[in-house]
Point group: C2
Chain length 468, copies 2
């Protein structure tokens, strides 16, 4: 079904291309000029002071009142209900909560004390999905390693110890492997628990949580993040010949799956309402900080982009569906459930594009695109409409698109926004992910760029070709 | 005594000036060229990799093993003893611990819980010298103000409340007034406790401690710092009409004064050993973080500058005395006791200059000078010797010179180093004041600049004129 559908699209693009060939030759970007006026209106609205305040107040409200939106929590469901009701007030159509069963991990009380030349209560955060310790805790000597390779060489020393992965940050993709795999590797060598130097390039005694995975063949051992500062301190003590022990106590446990929801609403298309551009962010967060940049900012910015279209009376050819996905942080069950829903109701093929913001709503400079080169080339002209606000790039590959990943893997063209993420991993999964880290004007630009791109994609005559 | 001594100096300068007038007219900076070779040797030694490691290892050692060097603590005295013994090992002369009685404030257990739409345990730090709460704590409604002026207008609302000073950082000098005076002002209006938005331009949920003062005519009320993030959160809730209460518990108390010490050692002068250039930093710190930039870095850098002279076999005309002052943070009893000692033994007038580093050992670009214009002009040529490492400015007024303040007020020329302090107040008085925040190469430059300046000042023929 999918391939025949794609063939039809390809054929239609081919025919359209032939018809337009002569005039396109002179300027293949000409068609977007028809969107200039609309784009300018959207940008003006996004940068308007009153709209900035509306957006900012919503972002502050949802993150102040429901800061810890971890899957399975009351705060998450309250935030979802608030988004549902507020979308209704905004006049969105088909406002809907899709039921999603999600993992329900709870942190409980936790602590880590270093025993060395003196005792030190360390800042720590148990890692998501970790098992807890026995009630009396685990006390053992610490073994510090800096890489998987070093651990492999020294695995014989790990028996009965707490393995500390003191791995300096390079890229998130590379360094996060120690969080994802660290506990399994340590357990396989007989370690009784594991500690992680938080995955971050900079720290002010800031532990970072995040999800982990236990391989099926290992005994799950408790796994917690400590700070960059304490990881280095422990290493220096050990290098001086000190024996360092840590007492780790974690009440963490995985409860039975809980009921959560994706929440969504639509601006119905004027000509092809059955075709959809789906956009959004994830409404869940970790249970520390306020999840402002990760990812209430993404939810609010995408939602606001469409609210502004409604306010301006703009109605593109296709439907734009705004989604707050649930459970991005520890399961991606929301993203999967959305894919399952649209596959089951036959509307997957009607998706023109999927767009997500989940890499910070800092100052934007471009977009990342996951799909065919052909589709990406079709969208390049849109940058003519956003260059005035400094958004000028359309690169291959998208960041912060975990929830739309299941759609992208089915072939749906996917997109994310590229912003100045210099400090993103300073705050990521910490209690410092709070409102003060963001800038109203930066978010307004994210909204402007999103509104322009999404309006054009929803309104353009052509269907974007899918990946095979 | 002082004024006749100064007249002699002035006369001697006058005579020297007359004698040299002709050759000086062509280039008044010429005399420093004689120091070029020595300066280059000192710079080379400071930037040498082996010396960098020695310096860094010492800084790491003293701050790792004795991180909380608060006046009255065992860790402070251990750090002082370590410095004493290590100076002896270095071959310093007249290594000496001067007894100093210091305030002995202890923090004890402490906590602050916000009660609003939900309860939140806030990061907090009791402020130095604050009284504690009753054992059951104090729970009261919060009143937020943003300035002394606003408080004055609304003082009638403060009775029975906890006053939160939510004052954004402008300069340290300006904003710190709320820490120093906030509790007294709130108490006078009937407040039962006070909270301070930490004095800092940036926060990652980072509370900052620091010393406070109670006016004599007020009932001392407990005073604690919370984070920028929580101060803003409370303010937003109150602006939305919520009633916010806080439960504050602090075991803080002031114990009887304790015995501490200034610790010092000398490189004796070759021609005028009775004349002294005194240099150093403060060896005490707060009881959070490791006090690395505030101020172990200043102690190590000044000490190292003199150790390098000894290593190179350099011996200036005058004595250089390296001091680790005690109790800078909450009393300045060390700086006062040093002044008292040199006044009592008649050596105050023999001080050529006092030099302190206590404003971070970040990348240096100049010096600040507290003294007469004439003295400052005499030292300007020295910048010719440090310009190769980017140290090119000699401005009026010195920063980070609290311990030598009592000397400066007696007329002694005073100097501090100017460095890139952009992040100084991110870490100041927090648990993030740790080794990782500093850079080996930056400190090496601080040492190089200090060594060159201090060597020349200790060796130059002329006495620097004092302030009246």
């Amino acid at each position: 079904m999918k391939s025949s559908f794609l063939s039809l699209i390809t054929l239609s693009i081919f025919l359209t291309s032939c018809a337009d060939e002569t005039e396109r030759a002179s300027d293949s970007y000409q068609w977007v000029d028809d969107y200039r006026e609309t784009a300018d209106l959207l940008i003006e609205a996004a940068l308007d002071d009153t709209n900035k305040e509306i957006m900012w107040d919503r972002l502050a409200y949802v993150t102040d009142y429901y800061p810890h939106r971890l899957s399975g929590s009351r705060m998450l469901e309250d935030a979802i209900d608030w988004m549902h009701d507020t979308m209704l007030e905004d006049g969105f159509e088909n406002v809907y909560k899709q039921e999603v069963m999600v993992p329900h991990w709870v942190r409980g009380e936790e602590s880590a004390v270093m025993h060395g030349p003196y005792d030190k209560e360390m800042r720590m955060l148990g890692l998501g999905s970790s098992v807890g310790t026995p009630p009396e805790g685990i006390r053992a000597e610490v073994m510090v390693v800096h890489s998987f390779e070093e651990f492999e060489e020294r695995a014989g020393e790990a028996e009965g110890k707490i393995v500390l992965w003191n791995v300096p940050f390079t890229t998130y993709g590379e360094t996060v492997q120690y969080r994802v795999r660290g506990a399994s590797i340590a357990s396989r060598a007989g370690a009784v628990a594991s500690l992680l130097r938080s995955v971050a390039p900079f720290s002010m005694q800031t532990p970072h949580t995040g999800n982990i995975r236990y391989d099926d063949d290992v005994d799950p051992i408790p796994f917690a993040a400590i700070t960059l500062e304490d990881s280095e301190l422990i290493q220096r003590f050990i290098e001086r010949g000190e024996t360092i022990e840590v007492s780790l106590k974690m009440e963490a446990e995985m409860l039975p799956d809980a009921l959560s929801h994706n929440v969504m609403g639509e601006l119905r298309g004027r000509e092809k309402p059955e075709e959809v551009v789906v956009i959004g962010g994830h409404i869940d967060s970790w249970d520390v900080g306020h999840g402002v940049m990760d990812d209430a900012g993404g939810v609010i910015a995408t939602w606001e982009a469409v609210r502004l279209m409604k306010e301006l009376g703009l109605q593109p050819r296709r439907t734009i569906r705004v989604v707050g996905w649930t459970n991005e942080e520890n399961g991606v069950m929301g993203g999967r459930a959305y894919r399952d829903m649209v596959m089951e109701n036959g509307s997957l093929e009607l998706h023109q594009m999927a767009y997500e913001i989940d890499f910070g709503v800092f100052e934007p400079f471009g977009f990342g695109f996951s799909g065919t080169d052909e589709a990406r080339r079709m969208l390049e002209p849109v940058l003519k409409l956003t260059e005035a606000i400094g958004v000028t790039e359309l690169r291959e590959g998208s960041s912060g698109t975990v929830d739309i990943g299941p759609l992208i893997r089915e072939g749906v063209p996917g997109m994310g926004i590229d912003t100045d993420t210099e400090r993103y991993f300073w705050y990521h999964h910490t209690d410092a992910d709070t409102l003060d880290k963001l800038d109203k004007d930066d978010i307004a630009k994210v909204i402007a760029a999103t509104a322009v791109m999404i309006y054009v994609v929803a309104d353009m005559e052509e269907r974007l070709p899918w990946a095979e």
